[in-house]
Amino acid sequence: MTSSDTVAFRLINPYRILVKGTILFIVINFMFAAVHIPYGKLSLYNIILPGRERFPFAEEVPEKIYSLTITDLDSMFSSHIIASPKSKDEYRVVLVGDSSVWGASLRPEETLAGQLDTADLKACDGREVHVYNLAYPRNSITKDVLILSEAMRYKPDLIVWITTLGSLTPDRRLDHPIVQSNPTRLYELSRKYNLQFDFSTINFYHSSFMNRTVIGYRRDIFDWARLQLYGVLWAATGIDQVYRNSFKVYSLPKLVADVSFLDWQPPTFNPQLLSLDVLEAGMKVARNTPVILVNEPILIITGQKNSNVRYDMSYPRWVYDQYRQVMDEESGKNNWQYVDLWDLVPSAEFWGDTDLHLIPAGEARFAERLIPYIQSASCP
């Protein structure tokens, strides 16, 4: 072997490449874990792609709806239209709530936020009212507060927080994918507002060093990358879930004579079982931004067997009535602006298999009722 051969061999020695590649791989993983790169904040949305009008959530395969379920708050917000710059003449209203507000099976413009936004409202100072849908499916008041605390970075002028009894029950305190996926933020929330959470039910997956490496985050990074790619199809088609062109009239279910709720029995329940502490923390998170707390419309079944003891499949009358009373008292005591719209929407404007999802007409009715409150809040 000549000396020039030796040089050539050194230049292309595959074993050296293998060793270097391995070292590079380890270093990149180590650095990723040590620095914790907030990749979720990086986004093509609102830069070259239009922001999504609601958080990405999928009940169908992503290939069909150009969206997928994302529970990382950074990725959720960076893909949302709210992450676009706020103009000076904008009066920013954010809606926080569950799947009913998110708009299951509704086009973005048919949702509560969409209908409020297209109402072309103006604040008293002449600013244009823009309404953002920051709801996310499945009830959980803790999930709402986590979203709310993140939403504050985007300078809302008004928060409309839509809740129901199901959001406040103890079983939903921590049982939500967003709560489970953001344990650090939950811990901060707990520390800051002295909230007592049972952290033994939380999986602190990324707390170990290995799980903070690129390898540990591979699934999250993969989902983040897919979210960016599906943004192209979202932009091209305006589709982010399966839309319905017609809604089957809700076939009222047969109510059973069960009066229990969770493991609660009539005639009363202990109000301390509700997550009112989390609700209160949410109000503190909002700081000086006005909040309208709304008890969302529920399906009310009347004139049927057992409808004297139950409102619907979810709620026995006694528990829901007492919940409304508790909320009324709690709002009065804390001086919250509370709007109880529980019976606003007739049963014909509900659809599907839940007691909460509204058809576009129901959302329109809901929006119409909220408009005066928003107008009023925008005129201090």
């Binding site: 020695n13 992503p62 897919r226 192209v232 199809l233 091209a236």
Partner: protein, 477 residues
């Protein structure tokens, strides 16, 4: 081919490349490739059909070898050894049924041993009979081989025929024919296998085929890196590589490894990502504006390139580990200044195949007839018919015919245009900047033409494709 299989094949290739340097190398290669035929064939809705397709691949290959090999060479020892190995592999693949689901070599449970035994007896008898009688009229048997391969190809590629055949198989198995679908007959790599076999038979007819031993022939047809997506090598080149003593240098490992990595990146990062947003029959209907339709079409344009060229890089990389220099299939096709050069650099081995076995013979024929047609007409006929056949190779549907026609017409127009502007281009030779400018414009126009052509390829129906084209051009909203 999944990433897992690619990694397994890479390891196997490295092992074979580094360890097997004696005469057994070809048997190892043939054996591994035959096993890969079973391993890679995807599951099909009809019970055990995946096993049968793999077995038929081997049978057709051996049959073609018998047809193309001089009779006095058939019974040579190495050929009999190879036949015994193949026989053993088929039996082994079948016996894995006793390991239970999840451990079978084929995707679904192979047939019962007695069923396979009957099949093998008949297959063996068929091979013996053909080997014996082909002496009487070799030409007839070669033509029969071509007809058989094209017949199977048509059955698999024509959706109505494939559905009918699936229905027939289902009926024979006592299952409802109503569930039959064209996708029931997804025979892995058959398009490539058939074209390799047709090449050998045709070359035998013309006397250009080198004599290859059975293990060499089988390895050529089913070499595992090139099984699913080509390239379609020529047997004389392949056998030359196979017979060359292998010695993998560090440089070989480097080049092959780099090629493999590039291929993996192209396929599994770029192509698979672009696949999420590439134009398809669903998003074509849903897309609201021409601008976004172009984005989806460009995504398809690059997805198909990275997918295909990525697989080729993987095949070439793994082939290199094994000591083969598989032919290139892509050479920056989207950077070519005209359609002719595009087709000289896109799926090169397939284009060369059609050039060798259809375009050139047809052109020669049309020019040599007593009253030849005018040259432009000959060019038009040969180019359109060749491109339509290339389209049909992908599937016998109207859209592939239209895609082929699109390119055939494009090639004809480009041919005429090139002749028309030749004096001008000759003058440009001295003016470098202007030449570069026109080259850039030509490249852009060629790329756009190819991109628009993909609308026919990507979508399933002419009506939808036409709507998309109108939308792309802003004619309809």
């Amino acid at each position: 081919m999944t990433l897992t299989y690619i990694l397994i094949f890479t390891a196997v290739a490295l092992f074979l490349g580094l360890v097997t340097r004696n005469r057994w190398r070809v048997y190892f290669l043939m054996g591994v490739s035959a096993l890969a035929v079973y391993l890679l064939q995807p599951a099909l809705p009809i019970r055990s059909l995946d096993f049968w397709f793999s077995t038929l691949t081997l049978l057709l290959t051996v049959l073609s070898w018998i047809l193309t090999t001089p009779s006095d060479k058939l019974r040579e020892r190495n050929n009999l050894v190879a036949l015994a190995i193949l026989f053993g592999i088929v039996i082994f693949a079948d016996l894995t049924r006793y390991l239970g689901l999840g451990w079978t070599l084929s995707a679904t449970l192979p047939p019962k041993v007695e069923v396979l035994a009957v099949f093998l007896v008949f297959a063996g008898l068929l091979l013996v009979v053909i080997a014996y009688f082909k002496r009487l009229s070799p030409a007839t048997f070669l033509v029969s081989g071509i007809v058989l391969l094209i017949g199977i190809f048509l059955v698999l590629k024509i959706p109505s025929l494939a559905t009918a055949t699936s229905g027939l198989i289902r009926y024979a198995l006592g299952r409802p024919s109503a569930n039959a679908a064209a996708t029931d007959l997804r025979w892995l790599g058959f398009s490539y296998i058939a074209f390799r076999l047709l090449h050998t038979i045709r070359d035998r007819q013309t006397g250009r085929l080198p004599v290859a031993a059975l293990p060499e022939f089988v390895t050529y047809v089913i070499l595992f890196p090139a099984l699913t997506a080509g390239p379609i090598d020529r047997i004389e080149h392949f056998v030359q590589d196979l017979r060359r003593p292998i010695s993998l240098s560090a440089e070989d490992l480097s080049v092959a490894g780099k090629r493999l990595m590039v291929g993996l990146f192209k396929k599994f990062v770029l192509a698979d990502s672009l696949a999420l947003i590439a134009l398809n029959n669903i998003n074509a209907v849903q897309t609201r504006t021409a601008g976004w339709m172009w984005v989806l079409l460009y995504a398809f344009t690059f997805q198909i390139f990275f997918d295909f060229s990525g697989y080729t890089d993987i095949a070439i990389g793994i082939g290199w580990f094994l000591g083969f220099r598989l032919p290139e299939n892509f050479a920056n096709p989207y950077l070519k200044p005209n359609l002719t050069q595009f087709w000289n650099s896109w799926h090169i081995t397939l284009t060369q195949w059609f050039r060798s076995y259809f375009f050139n013979p047809l052109t020669r024929f049309l020019r040599s007839v007593k009253h030849p047609l005018p040259v432009p007409v000959i060019i038009l006929l040969t180019q359109i018919s060749t491109m339509i056949l290339i389209g049909l190779w992908h599937g016998v549907t109207w859209n592939f015919i239209l895609w082929g026609s699109w390119h055939g017409i494009g090639l004809f127009v480009q041919n005429r245009w090139s002749g028309f502007v030749r004096p001008l281009t000759e003058k440009l030779e001295e003016r470098h900047a202007l030449k570069m400018f026109f080259a850039a414009i030509s490249t852009f126009i060629t790329f756009q033409y190819v991109t628009l052509g993909w609308v026919w390829f990507a979508l399933p129906s002419p009506g939808l494709s036409w709507q998309v084209l109108l939308k792309l051009l802003g004619i309809v909203r």
